[in-house]
């Protein structure tokens, strides 16, 4: 079972499927990559996760929107990392500026999370 969670506290995170929201496609970036003089890279700054929902009903959409009524909101999430493992993060949830809403559906909704801190 997928383990994508969201909540306003670390202990209060809820599996999004229990909210009626489908499992998203997720992308994960550990941090901005700084290219060094020796050719290597350093991950600098907050990581970033994106949850991509190809189609959501308005009810599903609003279930997520409750966590971010304005442009951004501080939340906790559990998401998939690039290591094929789930991890908890204190995050800033960024609601997209534009939504493609048609016929009571939202298409290709991309919710971005700035991953402020890893919570272990």
């Amino acid at each position: 079972m997928a383990d994508y969670k969201i909540g306003t506290t670390l202990g209060g995170m809820t599996n999004i499927e229990s909210l009626g929201v489908p499992v998203p496609r997720s992308r994960f970036q550990a941090g901005e990559r700084v290219t060094l003089a020796n050719g290597g890279v350093r991950e600098l700054g907050w990581g970033r996760a994106e949850w991509v929902f190809p189609i959501l009903t308005m009810t599903q959409r609003n279930a997520l929107r409750n966590y971010c009524p304005s442009g951004s909101a501080a939340v906790y999430i559990r998401t998939m990392t690039n290591e094929n493992a789930y991890a908890n993060y204190q995050a800033m949830m960024i609601w997209p500026e534009e939504e493609d809403q048609r016929a009571g559906r939202v298409f290709d909704l991309v919710i971005r999370f700035n991953l402020i801190a890893l919570e272990t």
Binding site: V34, N38, R42, L44, G45, G47, N114, I116, A117, L118
Partner: protein
């Protein structure tokens, strides 16, 4: 103390990292509140009566801030400093301009210690610190300097937060630290409170203050105060939206940051408030503090809010402001000018030291003339070089510090946390003196990102000559020239004067080293793609850099070459902190060569035995004077001219700093403005600080009482339109002079002229340098119409007997220099013409009660000799007419002017004659006392813009 990064820390710096950037705003608690109980006030009172007091009066400490407002807790009227413990009905405060004191205003003393200037004032020639503190022995038995760390930011972890401050770096001149006493109100537990390293535990979030009193073995003590911010639970810091600027720069002396925040979280922002930028850093997923100072590495920058920069964007709901570090705040603190001078024995005054050294002078400015020692650490490397005196003519504490430091290559900087470090510029130290400077890190290709910018400069200076005095023998003039007697191929010639050297060898080392620094080829900008809190502009530290020729297009090769960090910048974006450093490569020069000063009488005979120390032109930033000497804008010129308010002072820097009756005796300062009418309350006034002295027997003596000086206001054509009235003897500065203008009606002026005159006839004997006897070989009656003698004749129209010799004495003032045309020493600046009517050469026929008039009439003559009261057939006396400019002892001619005695007229009534057989004209000159006026500052008050 800077330190090397450990291998473990370096691993973290080179790994994955992210940061949360926060702001802690000090919201000091109210200590005491009251209301003004006073109906009338001085312009800038140093005490104010209060009523309706609330709080514990004993908790009001010197150095705390008092808010003055129209309602409780407000500061809309202003802010002042508590200068000493209050009385039961009086607060003693630092004089602060611009406060409209009114009865019943609300006074709120808050638990805040911030930088304020502390004035030294002079009353009846005695210096007092902070209005009324008499000197006892503070400059022989020194107060210690408390070093207890910066403000701290802690997070509760498992319900507690532990602070471990350290005070073992506290120090004192000439003694040792013997005791520590800490106080931490609000702490849940403490230990070691009488040691240098106590431990303080908090179990709830909030803002606290710790204090530490250190006692020295000499019995003196000092106390410092630091806020402690504890966050956790629901008490969260303010999140920073953006950080447009955050940098420390060695040239400007410290750090500054611009921040933008969205939510103040209930905090108040005001001028002078302590603000601490800090971070919560994650290193490869682990939250940890990695940086220095140890225990405070989470601080990105600490300083005080500049109230002028607070900007509230209501539409966006953001607040932005600038946080300025210690150097910038010192530059904001106005300080009265003066001097620090050497005393013959133990110091007897606040402005004296038995051995004035740069370190002691800086200590004096930082800890006695400011409250900085209460709120930040001050660590000064001791430099024992002595100066005869220090000029403190700068308008701010920072300028005065730069003046003090300039002659000794001493630099003052503050680090990210606001701690002040002083020491010889590391780039100008000998190699052996650099051995203790730590290498913080070796920057490799694993560290830097983006492009490395290498500025290579060609030679700027081809020849450098430095001049100064010898530390232990100030009358010995030392000069050194680098690279040698001849210049390099390209570049300018440069001369730096008024330095102090250990000896000639030191001067030679320094000239070579300075030349090498001036011509330093490499300045390197390195963008470190990391959050590096180890590199700072101070204390003295190195980083090393290793580059192979192929690493940069430039092809520079550095093999662990040492560099001094001169600038450090932080950029914050999306949780990433990037550090950029600007590095100056370490260089070593070859010693210069000795130049023997010219013999006395030459240009090099200028031992600075009194303070006359211009800014060191290389390393401290240049002074910023009032641009163009024009008054700053006043909202309403008419209001200004009404004279109801006090305006200024406007600090003028004269083109000439030393007026000398043998050299340059006057100076003009371009200051187009309007003088107020002389009837207003606050009259236009100029105050000149500095001191006067006179020379006798080759020795200089203070000239406290000399009043032979003038201040004149000139129009654009150079006409004197107002003359200053020297209305006071002393002002706040040492032996200051004040002159008030009393023009009728507002008056536009173009410039001020200040002149020094010698005391006429006060010394020396009159000596006759020239004479001529105009005899005509017999009695010549007045009615005779022919010329008598050379130029003596009787005017047939006016029936006047006249000498019309056109006796010309050539005076000139050129470059302010008064002199006679003839070959007399320049200090023979007074001259008399004597017309002597030898005995039995004048006879009077008829009734004579005559007057003698000389033209021009503003020349006067000795009254005791001219008056004829007897009716003598033959005047039996010698009558001498002394002619000299007895009314005005200064001369207004701008260039060569022939001033002549046009004629002498003896009135005779019709039918009554004078007869004269001969006249002797003599020309006397007299040595005028040589005076100097060492001008340290000129302050213009109560003038208005055009």
């Amino acid at each position: 103390m800077a330190r090397a990064i450990t291998a473990n820390e370096l691993t973290k710096l080179r790994g994955k990292q992210s940061s949360r950037l926060y702001l802690a705003l000090h919201q000091p608690a109210v200590v005491y509140s009251a209301q003004v109980d006073q109906a009338s006030f001085e312009v800038e009172p140093d005490a104010v009566a209060y009523k309706n007091g609330s709080g514990t009066l004993a908790n009001v400490k010197p150095g705390m801030t008092m808010l003055i407002g129209t309602a409780a807790g407000k500061h809309d009227v202003g802010m002042v400093r508590i200068r000493k413990e209050p009385g039961t009905s009086t607060f003693f405060i630092g004089r602060t301009g611009g406060i409209n004191w009114q009865n019943n205003l609300y006074l709120t003393v808050i638990n805040e210690f911030r930088p304020w200037a502390v004035p030294v004032s002079y009353y009846n020639g005695v210096a007092y610190l902070d209005e009324d503190v008499s000197y006892t022995n503070e400059h022989s038995q020194y107060r210690p300097v408390i070093v207890m760390g910066p403000p701290a930011v802690l997070w509760l972890k498992n319900g507690t937060a532990v602070l471990s401050p350290k005070a073992e770096e506290s120090w004192v001149f000439g003694s040792t630290i013997s005791g520590y006493s800490w106080s931490a109100p609000g702490a849940s537990a403490t230990s070691g409170m009488n040691t240098a390293e106590p431990q303080v535990t908090y179990n709830s979030a909030g803002q606290y203050t710790i204090s530490c009193t250190v006692t020295a073995a000499n019995g003196k003590s000092a106390t410092g105060y630091r806020p402690v911010f504890v966050f956790g639970g629901n008490v969260k810091p303010i999140e920073v939206k953006s950080l447009p600027h955050c940098a420390g720069d060695a040239e400007s002396g410290g750090w500054a940051a611009e921040v933008e925040i969205v939510d103040l979280a209930g905090a108040v922002v005001r001028d002078g408030m302590l603000a601490v930028l800090f971070t919560l850093d994650e290193w490869n997923g682990t939250v940890e503090v990695v940086g220095v100072p140890d225990g405070y590495g989470n601080i990105l920058m600490s300083g005080w809010i500049n109230g002028d920069t607070i900007s509230v964007k209501r539409g966006y709901g953001t607040v932005s402001f600038r946080i300025e570090g210690t150097a910038a705040w010192l530059a904001r603190l106005a300080s009265l000018p003066g001097v620090i001078k050497k005393s013959e024995n133990a110091a007897q005054a606040w402005d004296e030291f038995e051995i004035p050294t740069v370190t002691r002078a800086v200590w004096h400015l930082l800890t006695e003339r400011s409250t900085l020692g209460l709120c930040t650490d001050i660590l000064l490397d001791v430099d024992g070089r002595r100066m005869p005196a220090f000029d403190l003519s700068g308008g701010s504490l920072w300028e005065q510090i730069q003046q003090v430091c300039g002659s000794a290559q001493y630099i003052i900087n503050s680090d990210r946390c606001g701690r002040v470090y002083g020491g010889i510029d590391p780039a100008l130290r000998r190699a052996s003196e650099r051995s203790g400077i730590p290498v913080v890190m070796d920057i490799t290709k694993a560290d830097w990102a983006d492009e490395m910018v290498i500025h290579e400069q060609t030679e700027k200076v081809s020849l450098l000559e430095i001049k100064g005095i010898r530390d232990d023998t100030p009358e010995e003039r030392l000069i050194s020239r680098a690279p040698g007697y001849l210049p390099r191929y390209g570049g300018d010639w440069r001369v730096i004067d008024w330095l102090v050297f250990d000896n000639q060898e030191h001067a030679n080392f320094l000239s070579g080293q300075m030349l090498a620094v001036l011509n330093n080829r490499f300045e390197v900008e390195v963008a470190l793609g990391m959050n590096n809190r180890f590199i700072d502009i101070c204390p003295a530290q190195y980083v090393t850099l290793t580059l192979a020729s192929g690493d940069t297009p430039f092809g520079a090769i550095f093999n662990a070459a040492k560099f001094f960090p001169r600038r450090v910048e932080y950029q914050f974006e999306d949780g990433g902190i990037r550090t950029k450093v600007i590095l100056e490569k370490e260089v070593f020069g070859s010693p210069g060569v000795t130049i023997i000063p010219e013999s006395p009488g030459g240009d090099e005979n200028l031992v600075p035995d009194e303070p006359r120390l211009p800014n060191y032109p290389l390393f401290p930033p240049p002074r910023s004077d009032w641009p163009e000497y024009a008054p700053p804008p006043v909202e309403n010129v008419d209001d200004c001219l009404s004279g109801n308010m006090f305006v200024g002072p406007y600090i003028l820097t004269p083109p000439i700093r030393v007026l000398d009756t043998e050299e340059i005796a006057e100076t003009e300062i371009y200051i187009p403005c309007k003088l107020r009418d002389g009837t207003v309350d606050h009259k236009s006034m100029v105050a000149i600080t500095g001191y006067m002295r006179y020379q006798a027997g080759g020795i200089w003596y203070s000239a406290y009482t000399l009043s032979d000086w003038t201040v004149e206001a000139l129009d654009a054509s150079g006409n004197v339109v107002a003359v200053g009235v020297n209305s006071f003897g002393n002002v706040g500065g040492l032996m200051g002079r004040v002159s008030t203008f009393y023009p009728v009606g507002p008056l536009q002026i173009d410039r001020l002229r200040i002149r020094l005159s010698g005391a006429y006839g006060s010394v020396g004997n009159w000596s006759r340098t020239w004479n001529a006897n105009y005899g005509w070989g017999g009695w010549k009656p007045a009615e005779t119409t022919t010329t008598i003698g050379n130029d003596i004749y009787v005017d047939p129209v006016t029936d006047e007997w006249k000498v019309f010799r056109h006796v010309q004495t050539y005076w000139r003032i050129q470059d302010g220099k008064i002199g006679l045309r003839r070959d007399v020493p320049p200090h023979y600046t007074e001259s008399r013409m004597v017309y002597e009517f030898p005995k039995n050469t004048v006879r009077v026929i008829g009734d004579v009660s005559k007057t003698i008039v000389m033209y021009p009439q503003d020349w006067t003559y000795a009254s005791t000799f001219y008056h004829l009261t007897s009716n003598h057939a033959v005047v039996p006396h010698s009558y001498q007419l002394y002619l000299w400019d007895g009314l005005v002892k200064t001369y207004n001619w701008a260039s060569w002017v022939s001033v002549f005695i046009e004629r002498i007229v003896i009135n005779s009534l019709a039918g009554n004659w004078w007869e004269c057989a001969s006249v002797i004209m003599q020309d006397y000159t007299c040595a005028v006392q040589r005076y100097q006026w060492i001008i340290q500052g000129i302050y213009l008050f109560n003038v208005c813009p055009l």
